[in-house]
């Protein structure tokens, strides 16, 4: 019996329609009055293989992946083998009797999904029958499930919609029979208020944040896991006055973006590891010609092609370092609300300091869905940092804070000259050594203001801690849930959403702890190294995972328990 939380995993081959089941079920769960969180893992192929999606249904707010599978919907023959490390003797497996004919396991419930589907009109209905069965098991009203189906399939025409509604009916019957057999029982408390919450994923929240930040231009080249953001912006480009262009390569993409920002259109760049590597020279251009640019870097395991559809936090160093010495800012949102506000802020702050601002994400965070109460737009403002130039305008005027006011061509009476060489205040090429020194110092000077504006890490848990857990970006959800599960008064979690430059309070938080532990999805502990570099604080223990998969709540919990006992 599941009283608080149930983890349902759907697994099948690419092309078998898992995404459809996910889309229907997460909505049905939310409208049914439960908290929901889904995350997925998939292969870099269009057909075949094994992909899976985890949908957690809970009475508590959740935003994390668990290793545990309570109910597995095995759509393909290979599903059980694919997930064998996560299946326990408590996992209930539901699958089609033909597909799983040769699979023996005492916890399998075999259902003639395909046969029922054929009676309705074809095997394509099998997934909806399975979704219906789950919906019934979760005690979700049939009307809600039908509404979800209708919103999903109405545009495909009456015939298909009717077939799907019929499949839903059959699914509910299957679910009822399963419930009668007493093999599964779900009694999770519902809260009807959840119905009205927002259901969003990590990609679209970034996209909405970018729109709120005044994004007007995106040139990009497809690459997982950043393509989803590109698709989002493409979809809404017309509505929100954004120029969207698929460029011939990443080099062109970033050079277009910087050109657009120069001419007054806030521009976004969206890419991933190798694609970003091609952009590095462009980032250098933005840094010396002091043109703002916002870069969404969807991390995946590398180097080079690596694991295209998997997750990692390996590109912090890549974003941080580069040719020459000028400041940057790196955000790494770990929860949906932060992803919105940081993406929005990225444009203002890039514009204010005329520097590249990074939004680091990864496959896990880009694909995670969960419900949140709201996104507050009240304090969201577009700060204007463009000035009208006068005749004597100097693009790189030396100033006390290092910021020279930024004019754009076509607005004012001055010419706006930007340059990738070292330059004088007017933007023309120079090799004067004294001027070079001044210009380097001018650009670095901006770091003082940037530090003042930086976002402090967020302390979660008890403020009177001895043990401090450190995490950044997408590990937020799993660490938070593990911390909640531990329920100890001496432990807290310091979550970093801005990883560079670090806020001044960082050292104070770290020094207060007797013992510190960090979790990172990489092999070199890049963030711990950065903390050492910035604060001279050495974290006691580094738990690193670099197999392309996200941390699970269980893994974190186990590591923490171990750390507290053994150190």
């Amino acid at each position: 019996m599941f009283q608080e939380d149930v983890s349902i995993v759907i697994c099948g081959e690419a092309g078998q329609g898992i995404q459809t089941v996910e889309s229907i079920l997460i909505q049905a769960v939310k409208f049914g009055g439960y908290h929901v969180c889904s995350s997925k893992e998939y292969m870099s192929r269009v057909r075949g293989g094994e992909n899976s999606t985890e949908i957690r249904v809970s009475s508590k707010r959740i935003c994390a992946y668990v290793n545990r599978i309570d109910i597995l919907i095995a759509i393909s023959k290979g599903a059980i083998d694919h997930l064998k490390e996560r299946i326990s003797n408590k996992t209930i497996i539901i699958g089609d009797e033909e597909t799983l004919k040769h699979v023996e396991n005492e916890n399998i419930i075999k259902i003639p999904f395909l046969k029922i589907a054929r009676d309705i009109g074809g095997p394509i209905y099998a997934n909806v029958i399975a979704a219906g069965a789950i919906s019934k098991i979760l005690n979700i009203d049939k009307e809600i499930f039908d509404e979800c189906l209708t919103s999903m399939f109405a545009r495909k025409g009456k015939k298909i919609l009717n077939g799907d509604l019929k499949a839903g009916d059959e699914g509910y019957k299957v679910g009822e029979n399963i419930l009668k057999s007493d093999k599964i029982k779900v009694q999770i408390v519902k809260d009807t208020k959840i119905k009205d919450e927002l259901l969003l994923d990590g990609t679209e929240v970034v996209g909405m944040g970018c729109i709120a930040g005044g994004c007007r231009f995106l040139a990009c080249y497809p690459m997982t896991p950043s393509s989803a953001l590109q698709v989002f912006i493409a979809k809404y480009s017309e509505e929100f006055n954004i120029i969207f262009e698929q460029s011939e390569d990443e080099i062109s993409a970033i050079n277009m973006g910087i050109g657009a920002f120069y001419a007054g259109a806030r521009a976004l760049i969206a890419t991933s590891g190798s694609g970003f590597a091609l952009m590095e020279e462009g980032v250098g251009l933005a840094r010396i010609n002091e043109t703002p640019i916002v870069i969404y870097l969807g991390q995946r395991p590398g180097p080079a092609v690596g694991l295209p559809t998997r997750t990692s936090q390996e590109d912090l160093d890549l974003a941080l370092y580069g040719h020459g010495e000028t400041p940057k800012i790196i955000f790494a949102p770990g929860k949906l609300e932060d992803a919105f506000y940081l993406s929005q802020k990225a444009f203002n702050i890039a514009d204010k300091y005329q520097i590249p601002v990074f939004i680091l994400s990864d496959q896990y965070f880009a694909d995670i869905y969960y419900n949140i109460p709201s996104i507050n737009l009240e304090n969201v403002k577009i700060e204007n940092h463009i000035i009208k130039t006068d005749e004597n305008y100097k693009r790189y005027e030396l100033t006390a804070d290092g910021i020279s006011s930024r004019g754009i061509p076509g607005f004012g009476d001055g010419v706006v000259v930007v340059d990738p060489h070292e330059h004088d205040e007017k933007g023309h090429i120079t090799e004067d050594q004294n001027l070079r020194t001044k210009m380097v110092e001018k650009r670095l000077k901006k770091l003082e203001g940037i530090k003042k504006d930086s976002i402090p890490p967020e302390l979660i848990g008890f403020s009177d801690y001895n043990i401090l857990i450190i995490g950044w970006g997408s590990t937020y959800g799993v660490i938070k849930e593990a911390l909640d599960n531990l329920n100890r008064e001496d432990v807290a979690f310091l979550y970093f959403k801005q990883v560079y430059p670090l806020h001044d309070s960082t050292k104070k938080y770290l020094d207060k702890a007797d013992k510190t532990i960090i979790f990172e999805n990489n092999a070199e502990s890049q963030f711990a190294n950065l903390i050492k570099l910035q604060t001279d604080f050495k974290i006691d223990k580094n738990i690193l995972k670099y197999n392309g998969r996200p941390f699970s709540v269980e893994e974190i919990t186990k590591s923490l328990k171990n750390f507290m006992e053994v150190g």
Partner: protein, 288 residues
């Protein structure tokens, strides 16, 4: 308007005495003045190289970009503010070598910009290596046995890609050059002008004299709308024709394909975020 409006007082010109770039500079200023183009509405975009320094010597908005990359920012600048006149001026190595991919795809994209390539058939700034347009046999410090590859033919490639305006001129022929620049700048769509330009320091083969002897003007009867004929003329190598080889006036410009201008002519910097619409979008995620 006087060409002097485009002068920069204390410009520290980095070209060798006798360089073909000087004539391109002075004649472009004359053309811009004749066309009454306000320096405040003009953006010069360049890459890196001796030719890439060009915008530093002509008063206008300037976007000196990276080696090979001029066309990408030029496209974007024009796209976000159609009111600006955008001219790319850069070298043959920059445009056809490092920037080759952008050269091809910008032609396909067809932004309303002019691209002037100072084609001296050599890498000037880095001191005399072969460029994509260096003729076969020329010896350099890198190509010690002489260049073995077939030179890149920018005009033939541009015509094959149906570029909307393709021309070649010669820096030693100011009248022809001015006429060509004028047509190119007035043309709606992407216009390419490859300018033969002697490099007096590193190219001892393709000298003023050589260009004079090895070029001639396309006849007045040449029909620039005939693509096959244009292609044929672009592949001539015994002597190199100068003039407008090809034009296609029927192509939509990149800016004309952009939805942001469907019912709004404002440059993008003047537009506000539609917050109520964004609220609607966010709120829609509460519903099915």
């Amino acid at each position: 308007m006087k060409p002097e409006v485009f002068d920069i007082e204390d410009a520290d010109i980095a070209w060798c005495p006798g360089c073909g770039n000087f004539s391109i500079l002075s004649n472009l200023k004359i053309v811009l003045a004749e066309l009454e183009i306000d320096p405040l509405e003009l953006v010069l975009v360049s890459g890196i190289g001796q030719a890439g320094k060009f915008p530093h010597f002509l008063k206008s908005h300037t976007y000196n970009s990276l080696h090979g990359r001029a066309l990408s920012p030029a496209t974007a600048i024009k796209a976000v503010n159609k009111n600006l006149k955008v001219i790319v001026t850069t070298g043959d190595g920059d445009m056809y070598g490092e920037g080759g991919n952008h050269f091809m795809h910008t032609i396909r994209r067809n932004p309303n910009i002019t691209c002037i390539v100072h084609d001296n058939m050599v890498y000037g700034l880095t001191k005399g290596q072969a460029s994509p347009t260096t003729l076969q046999g020329m010896k350099t410090s890198y190509q010690t046995e002489g260049v073995s590859e077939e030179p890149f033919n920018p005009l033939a490639v541009a015509i094959a890609l149906d570029a909307s305006f393709v021309a070649r001129t010669f820096s030693g022929d100011p009248e022809h050059m001015k006429k060509t620049f004028k047509s190119a700048i007035n043309h709606k769509g992407y216009s390419l002008v490859d300018v033969f330009q002697p490099c007096v320091t590193f190219n001892k083969i393709n000298t003023y004299q050589w260009f004079k002897e090895n070029t001639y003007h396309l006849e007045d009867s040449h029909d620039p709308f005939n693509k096959n004929e244009a292609f044929k003329r672009a592949t001539e190598k015994d002597k190199y024709p100068l003039g407008i080889f090809y034009k296609n006036n029927d192509k939509k410009t990149f800016e004309e394909t952009l939805k942001v201008y469907t019912d709004n002519e404002l440059p993008l910097y003047k537009r506000q975020v539609d917050m109520p619409k964004l609220v609607d979008l966010i709120e829609s995620r509460r519903r099915l």
